[in-house]
């Protein structure tokens, strides 16, 4: 194994009903994606507080991805619609602050989309790896 | 030729602001059209021909000039397709291709006449000066 090979740290929030099941399906079908992705189970994507995302970045995550049911398929009927608005605004704000927009992502993955889950994670890890370590979010203040 | 046709179709769609794919082929435009019997191609066919890029026969047809622009089809269309606007856009396309039928400011004074409403001349000028 190469020594200083950069491995990003990715936190994935997955809703229990669709995306977490989609991730399980990716496992059932042995569809590989990098081990850098660590999944946290939430009941619905609308449980994901922007504070959790910032907390992950603060503690050194290089990318955060939120996965939920497709619009119209939310187990709770409307949770993912709120998520969509919240994340659209949050991501736009992070971009406004000059944070690389590829570090955050919101994807809709259904329980049947194991392949999409794996492909999404592969793609996300690749993009974040290309960016390298997440310095900006931490650096926004320190220079005087 | 094909590309040319696609470009022209897109130009017509853009100029008219009409999305022909909204048409559900109910034919209410043709049912409502007062000039139907004088047309070779009827309003619903118009929409379909633009949608499928079948422009040449349309542009060569006299049907274009049978449309009175009464806008009944626009009023009645249940899908908001607005066929009359397409007709108008195709007419423009023909005029642009003809190239020669222009009206210059110099032509205007000669046409002034008590019987012709001034507005007609102004709109003709607007239409045909380019």
């Amino acid at each position: 194994m190469q020594v200083n090979e950069y491995k990003p740290l990715i936190v994935a929030f997955c809703c229990n009903w669709c995306s977490y099941a989609g991730a399980d399906l990716a496992g059932n079908n042995r569809l590989a994606y990098p081990a850098d992705v660590k999944i946290i189970r939430v009941p619905c994507s609308c449980r994901v507080n922007p504070m959790f995302i910032l907390r992950a970045f603060q503690r050194g995550a290089d990318g955060v991805i939120i996965c939920g049911c497709h619009p119209g398929d939310c187990h709770y009927t409307s949770g993912n619609y709120y998520t969509r608005r919240r994340m659209a605004l949050l991501f736009s704000m992070l971009d406004y602050l000059g944070i690389e927009r590829e570090r955050t992502r919101l994807e809709w993955v259904s329980a049947a989309e194991g392949a999409k889950f794996a492909a999404t994670m592969n793609d996300f890890v690749e993009k974040v790896t290309a960016l390298g370590e997440n310095k900006r979010l931490e650096d926004l203040r320190c220079k005087r | 030729m094909h590309n040319d046709n696609t470009r022209l179709t897109q130009e017509i769609i853009r100029a008219s602001g009409v999305n022909p794919s909204k048409c559900m082929k109910c034919g209410k435009c043709s049912a409502t059209c007062p000039a139907y019997d004088e047309m070779e191609y009827h309003p619903h066919q118009f929409v379909y021909m633009v949608e499928s890029g079948d422009l040449e026969p349309l542009m060569n047809s006299k049907s274009l000039y049978k449309c009175l622009s009464c806008f009944a089809c626009i009023d009645r269309c249940p899908r908001g397709v607005e066929p009359a606007k397409l007709v108008e856009a195709v007419r423009f396309a023909v005029i642009r291709q003809q190239g020669a039928d222009h009206m210059t400011p110099d032509d205007v004074p000669a046409k002034l006449n008590e019987d012709i409403p001034q507005q007609a001349i102004v709109s003709a000028f607007r239409k045909y000066r380019k």
Partner: protein, 664 residues
């Protein structure tokens, strides 16, 4: 501090093949709170579960982490195991090291490293877990059905047959709804009255069913299992219990020029009336806007002729409060107004009618006693034009029509056309259509019979305009296949008007906190898997209030809703999901933000007195979550700015602990 036990499962080689389970168990031993850690081949097996149970007892464990397959597989199993050993089942967390680790990673070192991190996250979470107990609430064993059409009737009968009391609230003086107005029903052509009226009688005679006719729902409070409903029983000025329905009052009533709603205004009724012969309840009702006695205090004839003494001019609206465990919405539909479709001359000519009016014209109990006579001159029409999709599939004209397909028009138009050709073979019948949509058992065959056997002329195209001229209706239409414009001199034009939800549905949805779509149809809890339930617990949907439906579909949904209600009412208590939102009242702003995002209407507010930081007392508005209604999505927790709202089982601090464990 928790005493946590960690149990790492090999799952044979499924996990152990890519994850070094011993290393994982060892590594997790040093995590905060962990007092015991082990691994075993199959944790879910009896032997594996025994290991967990024994460890709980031996080490006085308060929390359990199982590193195994997905929680979607065995979370319930391990919760039961924990409960059997005497600790709260919600003190168990699963680290998914199979589906989300060993199966997707090839390399042992990578897999092991990741499994350890996932295990750490689970340990971090369990450290903050608290024992959770599902809330219980009693169930009032009575159902309310709002709407007394075929949907409401079927639902009520099914619930009553299962032994539960049911109340039907109907705004009209009689139950029966739209189906009572129909003549025949497709695709079998049974007479609607013949199959409906026996059911109406069943309702009247069923001991478990009470009918509140001429009534409406005034107020709804409470939640699943415990609704408090106020019903307003409008004064009908006739004592329902005494009236025999003999009709003597109706005959003698001098006010007889009142448009008859039941026949859609095509004939008249009296100021005191019984909508139709088979009405249930069969009692008279006085129309207060038409009755001279009520308006001017002069007349009183009905009271004189009533041998039962049932007339009571002083009757007042009555308010009835009742408790219900479940509510079924069956408010049905209406045809949309045709007033805005000028091109079809509906407002100009009496001979342009809607399909529902056509039903009354061909109904033996209708204004023409079943003879097909056109309204203007009561002559037999020889040419009839049916126009489909009037106002349906109408995307451009939101103020006129509806964007959706009304679903039932293709079939009833085929029925009408076929019946006309059958009874009056000298009649020419045209049907103008955009598409003929006939999915359903024996539906397409039915439509084809209209064309092939009965000679109905189906024309692909629309009618552009209808112009009354003399005693004819000039119909201008397009025939898209022949590429012709048609001009037909018709005697009667029948418009298949789009259908829309009843106007009472919107205010009712607000009272129920049940969600609706933009067309005012009630939204189902899940479009595929929970089609007869509203997302609001305890509220069920029956019939066309949820979307356009024909009779067979309505009846299926009505029975389905009834079975869901029965499933609820047989329970003595409702056990909730303990993973629900709960507000910290001290931090709550009472700002209503959480209430606005809650899809279930689970949040209400109360004014409570609090000690403020400066020791003064103040009344503050604070949120209350009804655990029986909350489904635990967590939308409110993020909407809450102060963080007063948290979700049990997925608390903010727990998720942050997981984030920290993964990221450190």
């Amino acid at each position: 501090m928790q005493r946590i036990g960690v149990f790492v499962c090999w799952c044979g080689s499924n996990i152990a093949g890519t994850v070094d389970v011993h290393t994982v168990a060892e590594a997790l031993k040093s995590e905060p709170g962990v007092v015991f850690s082990t691994d075993y081949q199959y944790m879910c097996s009896q032997a594996g579960q025994d290991i967990i149970k024994n460890a709980i007892k031996e080490h006085n464990l308060t929390g359990i982490v199982v590193c195994s397959c997905s929680p979607r597989m065995h979370e319930a199993t391990f919760r039961k195991t924990a409960a059997a050993a005497g600790i709260n089942p919600y003190m168990v967390e699963i680290a998914n090291i199979r589906e989300q680790c060993s199966w997707v990673h090839k390399d042992m070192q990578t897999g092991t490293e990741k499994a350890i991190i996932l295990g750490k996250a689970a340990v971090a979470k369990v450290n903050l877990n608290t024992p959770l107990t599902p809330g219980e609430s009693p169930v009032t064993k009575r159902a309310l059905v709002i709407g007394g059409g075929i949907a409401g009737i079927q639902t009520a009968l099914d619930i009553a047959d299962a032994g539960f009391p049911v109340d039907i609230v109907e705004t009209k003086p009689t139950i029966g709804g739209k189906m009572a107005q129909l003549d025949k029903t497709f695709p079998t052509l049974d007479c609607a009255a013949c199959i409906l009226t026996p059911k109406m009688v069943d309702v009247a005679q069923n001991e478990n069913i009470r009918i509140f006719s001429y009534s409406e729902v005034q107020e709804i409070k409470g939640f699943v299992g415990n609704f408090d409903v106020t019903i307003k029983k409008r004064a009908r000025f006739v004592k329902e219990e005494i009236c025999t329905g003999c009709g003597a009052c109706v005959e003698k009533c001098p006010m007889k020029k009142i448009p008859n709603e039941f026949n859609l205004g095509m004939d008249n009724r009296h100021a005191i009336y019984i909508p139709f012969a088979q009405a249930v309840p069969k009692v008279a009702t006085i129309d207060p806007n038409a009755c001279n006695m009520l308006k001017k205090g002069k007349c009183g004839i009905c009271s004189k002729v009533c041998s039962a003494g049932a007339i009571d001019y002083t009757q007042k609206d009555e308010f009835i409060s009742e408790k219900y465990g479940a509510i079924v919405v069956a408010t049905g539909f209406n045809p949309i107004s045709m007033e805005k479709f000028d091109e079809y001359a509906y407002s100009q000519s009496k001979d342009v009618i809607t399909s529902l009016e056509f039903e009354r014209l061909t109904n033996a109990a209708g204004p023409t006693a079943g003879k097909l006579l056109r309204p203007s001159d009561l002559k037999h029409p020889h040419t009839i034009v049916f126009v489909q999709c009037v106002g349906s599939r109408c995307a451009a004209c939101a103020e006129k029509g509806k964007e959706y397909c009304s679903k039932i028009c293709c079939m009833y138009t085929a029925k009408h056309a076929m019946l006309v050709r059958d009874k009056y073979p000298d009649t020419e019948v045209y049907v103008f259509y955009i598409d003929v949509r006939t999915p359903g058992k024996n539906f397409d065959e039915f439509y084809r019979r209209a064309v092939e056997e009965y000679g109905v002329k189906y024309v692909k195209g629309m009618v552009g305009k209808v112009t009354p001229e003399g005693d004819k209706l000039k119909v201008q239409a397009s025939d898209l296949i022949a590429n012709k414009q048609l001009h037909i001199d018709a005697d009667l034009v029948v418009l298949a008007a789009a259908i829309e939800p009843d106007k009472s549905a919107r205010p009712l949805a607000t009272m129920l906190t049940a969600s609706m779509d933009t067309n005012d149809f009630f939204t189902e809890a899940h479009p595929k898997l929970r089609p007869v339930e509203s997302p609001t617990a305890g509220v069920f949907l029956s019939g066309a209030c949820q979307g356009p439906k024909d009779i067979p579909e309505t009846v299926s949904q009505a029975s389905a809703a009834a079975s869901k209600v029965i499933g609820l009412l047989v329970k003595d208590k409702l056990t909730g999901n303990p993973c629900v939102a709960s507000p910290n009242e001290l931090m709550c702003n009472g700002c209503s933000t959480c209430e606005r995002v809650c899809p279930y209407g689970a949040i209400t507010y109360e004014d409570k007195e609090f000690m403020m930081p400066d020791r003064s007392k103040a009344i503050r508005r604070v949120a209350q979550v009804n655990p029986a209604v909350c489904q635990g999505c967590g939308a409110c927790t993020v909407a809450c700015m102060s963080g007063a709202m948290d979700l049990r089982g997925f608390m903010g601090s727990q998720i942050i602990a997981e984030v920290d464990a993964i990221c450190k």
